[in-house]
Structure formats: structure tokens, C-alpha cells
């Protein structure tokens, strides 16, 4: 007789949003292995219809509090693409700064508050306040620094205020640049200490080769805000063809809508970006990669957390460089705009369809809008990173469970939870998840 194992994790903790893990091993045979998404659907795409394209990013940043800047940037990109507006070089550089701050902030939250407790054998960061007080303080301090920079740049990190379709409603003055630079450079020692900590942590073992998907480009910069969509299986497409990348499909055993490209599933996120764009990382980030022993192609999904750390280093130094470049070349304050709902027709609008593709903390995020000639949204579609990763997570779980059948149910459950958490899933972004199974 083989073993019977039932894992049923209801309301997975330390992830963003609500999800369940269901595993059923009968007589030593894996019969069922699912990540169920039980987030209440919020119908964002449906709600956007009839609203002005100039308030779209305001609404869509509310899809997710943790990557609000990323949603807002993807939304703005899609909106500008739809109405045919070209942002200025200064606007783009400031948007890149905002995106770096968000990736840094979100990765730090994930590494310290959500993953570290697993690696240190505790249930949350709370007991770490006593056992690892310095580490917890460092984490909170770095998180706050990211927020403080976002406050200066965009009014706040959660649901940014000043970054809008067309540009920025306020632009940093000399004092703001100095303050941001002081915050960023002040963070370097803490981030170095983080890297040392990470090099000492042991991540679980699991190898499963999969297709990794991320933005790619021909220039020298690690692409986060712009580029084509590429994969480790050699796919390269324009972002406008995102539906040919995601190929959403319904699987027969549940009502789950999954994505796939060249194989049965694909992964997006920090590890995908690392695998596709390693050469374009800054040397400081590559040094950390060497210290933790990582070089593409990494096929252990648990190492997504390590890839996030490498990206933290990259983003911090890139952010410092962007602020320094503004200090040298100055900020053109005549570019500041405020358009409201564009009721004064300050920005020219035409009917069209636009796509935004942005690398947010958890991976590639797509927004698509169709607008009429008055700039009113007719159709909207958002495909979030976690939606794309769900299928890949299930395939990882199917590979993992048979390898750890000799362990206790408790250990198996923890290994599965840690696997799902490694992807840093953002389930509250469930703008349109079909991975819901209500009837068993």
C-alpha cells in the first residue's frame, strides 16, 4: 500500500490575496494538485467601461495595493498607446525611477516579511522582533525608505498621485532630488547587509525546467518599462500580440483559466527576468548573483526570492543613477501638467486600442484598453503576472509532491506553501481570474 496524503491549506497566509492549496495522494499516486484562487472577484475590467481614459490609472492602481505603481504605469502606457500620445524623455525616466522603487519595495517586503520566516522556521515576522530584532528593524527601515522616496516622487507609494496619462502633475525640485538621493544612498549599507543574510540562507531544492517569459530589448538596459516580449524558448513578439503569448485556456478538470506559450506552462517574475536579461544587470547585482551562486539558466523556482534580491541591488543603483542624472542635467519644470478628466482637451485624443506591458514585481503585467474618439473606455483587459504563473505553480507542485512523499504531511504542506510563496503571488490582483473551483 502506498501512502494517502491530503493537504488542504485554506486561506494561504503570507501572500497577497486569498488562495487555497489542495493536494490529494491516494495509494501513493498523486491524484489532485491544485492552487485554488478564492479571492472575491472585483470585476475591474467590467467597471472600467464608460470611464474616461484619464481616470483609468486611478481606478486600476486599486487592483493591487502592493504593486499599485506597476498597475498605474501599465495602465498609463496602454492609455497613451490607445490615444496616440508620446511621453517625453523626462517623463519616461521618472516613470522608470518609480518602477525601480516599487520593485525594490515589494521585493524587500516579500524577502523579509513573507519568506524569511519560513527559512528561519517561524510562522511570521512577529517572533523575529525578539530573536532577530536588528534584521526586522533593517527590513522596516528599508521599506520605509522606499516609501519615502515614492512619497516625494509620486505623493505616495500606494496608489500614486502625481503620475498620470501625459506626464507628471508635479516634478521634483532641487530639494526633492537631494532628499531622494540621501534616502537612496543611505540604503546601501542595509542592502549590503541583506545580501550577506541572503547568501547564508538555504533555499529548498527543486529542479523543473520551464519556459521563462519577460520583456526583452536590443538596448543595453535591463528592460522593465519598455521592450518586446521574449521567452527562454526563443519566442519574441511585439507587446501588441500579448494574447499570442498568454494563450489563455480552460482546463477540463476545473474551471481554471491558465496560460501557456511553447510548452505546458510558463513562468514570469524576477527569475524569468534574471534568466532572460542577466547580461544587462548592473555589475553590483551580478556580484550578489555570484555570491549566492546564481547564473542563468536557474530552474529552481524557490530561487525566485534570490533573484528578487539581485534585482533589489540592480534597482537601487539604477535609481541612484537616475536621480543623479537629474541633479546634473536639471528638471524641466515646464513639463508639469494637470489634466483632470481632460475636460479642457489639453491632450489630443483619438479612438484606438492600446497595450501596456510592464515588468512589475511579480512579473509581466498587461493592460489593454479600447477607447472611443472622446477618450471613453469601451473595452478593457488586464492580464496579471500571478494569473500567468498559476499554471506553472501547479506543474511545480506536481513535480515536487512525488519527490517528498516520504516526509510528514506537515513538512509537505510547508514545502508547498513555501513553493507558492516563492512566486510571491498577488492574488488580490484577480482582475479576471478563472482559477476558481467552488464545487468539489
Amino acid at each position: 500500500m502506498g501512502r494517502n496524503i491530503k493537504v488542504n491549506v485554506e486561506y494561504l497566509t503570507r501572500v497577497e490575496g486569498h488562495g487555497n492549496i489542495v493536494v490529494n495522494v491516494n495509494d501513493g499516486v498523486l491524484e489532485d494538485c491544485k492552487l485554488e484562487i478564492v479571492e472575491s472577484p472585483r470585476f475591474f475590467e467590467g467597471m472600467l467601461r464608460g470611464r474616461s481614459i484619464f481616470e483609468a490609472q486611478h481606478v486600476t492602481s486599486r487592483i493591487c495595493g502592493i504593486c499599485a505603481c506597476g498597475h498605474s504605469l501599465a495602465s498609463i502606457q496602454a492609455a497613451e498607446d490607445a490615444i496616440g500620445f508620446k511621453p517625453s524623455d523626462q517623463t519616461i525616466r521618472l516613470r522608470k525611477l518609480l518602477l525601480h522603487m516599487e520593485n525594490l519595495d515589494s521585493h524587500l517586503l516579500h524577502i523579509y516579511l513573507l519568506v524569511a520566516p519560513d527559512l528561519l522556521g517561524v510562522k511570521s515576522f512577529v517572533p523575529l522582533i525578539d530573536s532577530h530584532n536588528k534584521v526586522v528593524r533593517r527590513a522596516l527601515r528599508m521599506k520605509k525608505t522606499c516609501n519615502d522616496v515614492c512619497d516625494i516622487l509620486a505623493g505616495r507609494h500606494i496608489h500614486p498621485i502625481s503620475s498620470i496619462v501625459g506626464g507628471w502633475t508635479k516634478l521634483p525640485d532641487e530639494k526633492a532630488l537631494d532628499a531622494m538621493l540621501a534616502y537612496l544612498t543611505g540604503m546601501v549599507p542595509d542592502l549590503n547587509a541583506t545580501a550577506e543574510l541572503a547568501a547564508s540562507l538555504k533555499f529548498p531544492e527543486l529542479q523543473r525546467d520551464t519556459e521563462y517569459v519577460a520583456l526583452v530589448s536590443d538596448d543595453a538596459e535591463y528592460p522593465l518599462l519598455m521592450g518586446d516580449v521574449g521567452s527562454t524558448d526563443g519566442v519574441r513578439m511585439n507587446k501588441k500580440d500579448y494574447k499570442k503569448i498568454t494563450n489563455e485556456f480552460i482546463v477540463p478538470h476545473s474551471s481554471a483559466k491558465h496560460t501557456k506559450l511553447s510548452r505546458e506552462s510558463y513562468a514570469v517574475g524576477a527569475l524569468a527576468r534574471f534568466n532572460l536579461n542577466y547580461d544587462k544587470l548592473r555589475k553590483e547585482a551580478k556580484e550578489i548573483a555570484a555570491a549566492v551562486g546564481m547564473k542563468p539558466k536557474i530552474t529552481n523556482p524557490y530561487l525566485n526570492t534570490a533573484a528578487q534580491l539581485i534585482e533589489c541591488v540592480h534597482s537601487l543603483y539604477e535609481a541612484i543613477d537616475i536621480v543623479k542624472s537629474f541633479k546634473e542635467k536639471g528638471v524641466d519644470h515646464t513639463e508639469a501638467i494637470v489634466v483632470g478628466l481632460n475636460e479642457q482637451k489639453r491632450i489630443k485624443v483619438k479612438a484606438g486600442i492600446g497595450v501596456g506591458a510592464v515588468e512589475v514585481p511579480r512579473g509581466l503585467l498587461f493592460h489593454q484598453y479600447e477607447v472611443d474618439d472622446k477618450g471613453i473606455i469601451v473595452n478593457a483587459n488586464c492580464i496579471i503576472p500571478t494569473g500567468q504563473n498559476c499554471n506553472n505553480i501547479e506543474h511545480d507542485m506536481k513535480k515536487l509532491v512525488p519527490e517528498i512523499l516520504d516526509k510528514t504531511e506537515e513538512e509537505i504542506t510547508l514545502a508547498l506553501e513555501m513553493l507558492v510563496r516563492a512566486y510571491d503571488p498577488c492574488i488580490s490582483c484577480s482582475a479576471h481570474f478563472l482559477d476558481v473551483k467552488f464545487v468539489r
Binding site: S40, G46, V136, R156, T169, S255, L341
Partner: protein, 246 residues
């Protein structure tokens, strides 16, 4: 003295208000010294099955299951705090109520629409009794601290019932109407220190309407600047649509 048992719960929302709490930085550790957080799914694996001194609720109520869950939490809580626009006034989730439920489900989930339990969006006080309110999308951290202190001390907290314009003027911003734009500040509840206008954007009304807006004064402003009431109402229902449900 034992520390009060505090739990955080989320319903339909972006979880940004919880993050605002996490974003307090090291100040969070000071708060954790005076309370005992017993459940907070986003950052803790622990669960608690006894009663709560304070339950802090984020998100709006959009499914039948959520109705049952919030009632159960209410029954176990001495004090219940609704925090964030989704909880206090329905927030952006209320925009769903602009459409027929059937239509909005079909649009997003097509042939699978019937799998998704959904009811018209309601704010938390439309379902259970609420003791304290922290308005805003997201919450304004200084206000959250004020409310938490009041709740811990058993004192009342009165949400400001004046308009955002008052704070905005104290901050010496140029009026958005003077800049040729329309802004929800004149009828929106203060308490955020005119956060958005300070950063060059307009007010979107995320803290809900003041209880007794100066309707005639506002109409005069709209007339002066040739702005239709419809435009403002459309803007206000981004957060306040749930007001219509009695």
C-alpha cells in the same frame, strides 16, 4: 495587564490599507508593543479562534460568503474598526453597482459567469455595526494612528465633517477650479490633509461625502466654471456608488 487582542481581516479590496500599516516602518514596532496581533493573514500564519478586543476590517462586502464571515467576526469582536474606502463607503468596488450584475459578470467571465458568487457591493457599515471609521483610499497613516489610540483608550474618534477644501486652503494650494479643472474637494470629507491636491492632482472623493454638503454653494461654483453636475456625479460615484443602497 494583558495586551488587547487585535486582528486584521480583509474582504474585497487591494490590501493597500494593510500595507499602509506595514509601511509605518519602525513605528510599527512601537504599536506592536501595546497590542497583541493575533491574526493578520497577509503577514502571519497564526490563526485565532477566540474573541477579539479589536477587529480591523479592510475591504467591501461583495459575496454571500463575505456577509456571513463579517457577521461572525462582528459577533466575536468587542470593537470593530472599518478602515479604507472599500470598508467605510464601498470604495471603487461600488462601481460594479453602476451596471447590471448579470452584465458585469458576463463581461469579465463570459460562459463561466455562474461560477462567481457576487452580490451588489456594500460597505461594512451597511452589513454590520461599525465602531470606528478610518476613511480614505488608501488610509492616511496619521489618522489611522489617531483612531487606533482612541479605540485602545475607549474614547470616541470623530471623523472630520468639513470639506477637503478647508485643508487644501490651509495648505495654500491653488484651487483646481481656478486652474480650469473640476475637483471633488468641495463636497468630500476632510481628514487626508488634501493629499492629492498637494501633489498636483484633483480630489477624487475617496473619503466619502460630507454629511451636509453645501449644495447651493457648490452649484454656484459649478455654474461659475461652466461644469455640469453630471460630470461631478460621475466622478463621485467612483468611490461613493454604494450610498444608493439603503
Amino acid at each position: 495587564m494583558t495586551k488587547p487582542k487585535v486582528a486584521f481581516f480583509d474582504f474585497a479590496c487591494c490590501e493597500g490599507c494593510q500595507l499602509q500599516v506595514a509601511n509605518l516602518g519602525e513605528a510599527l514596532l512601537d504599536i506592536l508593543e501595546v497590542i497583541d496581533v493575533v491574526e493578520f493573514r497577509e503577514v502571519m500564519s497564526e490563526k485565532w479562534n477566540q474573541s477579539f478586543d479589536i477587529a480591523i476590517i479592510e475591504g467591501s462586502i461583495t459575496t454571500n460568503h463575505a456577509v456571513e464571515r463579517i457577521k461572525e467576526i462582528r459577533a466575536r469582536s468587542k470593537v470593530l474598526i472599518a478602515y479604507g474606502s472599500c470598508a467605510t463607503i464601498g470604495g471603487v468596488n461600488g462601481m460594479k453597482n453602476n451596471f447590471e450584475l448579470k452584465d458585469v459578470r458576463q463581461y469579465v467571465y463570459q460562459e463561466k459567469a455562474e461560477f462567481f458568487d457576487t452580490i451588489p457591493t456594500r460597505s461594512v457599515p451597511q452589513v454590520v455595526n461599525v465602531d470606528y471609521f478610518v476613511n480614505g483610499c488608501p488610509i492616511y497613516p496619521p489618522e489611522f494612528i489617531r483612531v487606533l489610540k482612541a479605540a485602545l483608550a475607549g474614547l470616541p474618534y470623530h471623523v472630520p465633517d468639513s470639506s477637503v477644501c478647508i485643508e487644501c486652503k490651509l495648505n495654500e494650494n491653488i484651487c483646481m477650479y481656478e486652474r480650469g479643472l473640476s475637483c471633488a474637494g468641495p463636497i468630500t470629507r476632510a481628514g487626508c490633509n488634501s493629499w492629492c491636491v498637494n501633489n498636483g492632482n484633483i480630489c477624487y472623493g475617496c473619503r466619502g461625502m460630507v454629511s451636509n454638503p453645501n449644495e447651493n454653494g457648490f452649484k454656484a461654483v459649478l455654474e461659475k466654471y461652466d461644469i455640469t453636475v453630471d460630470l461631478i456625479m460621475n466622478k463621485m460615484n467612483m468611490y461613493n456608488k454604494c450610498r444608493e443602497i439603503k
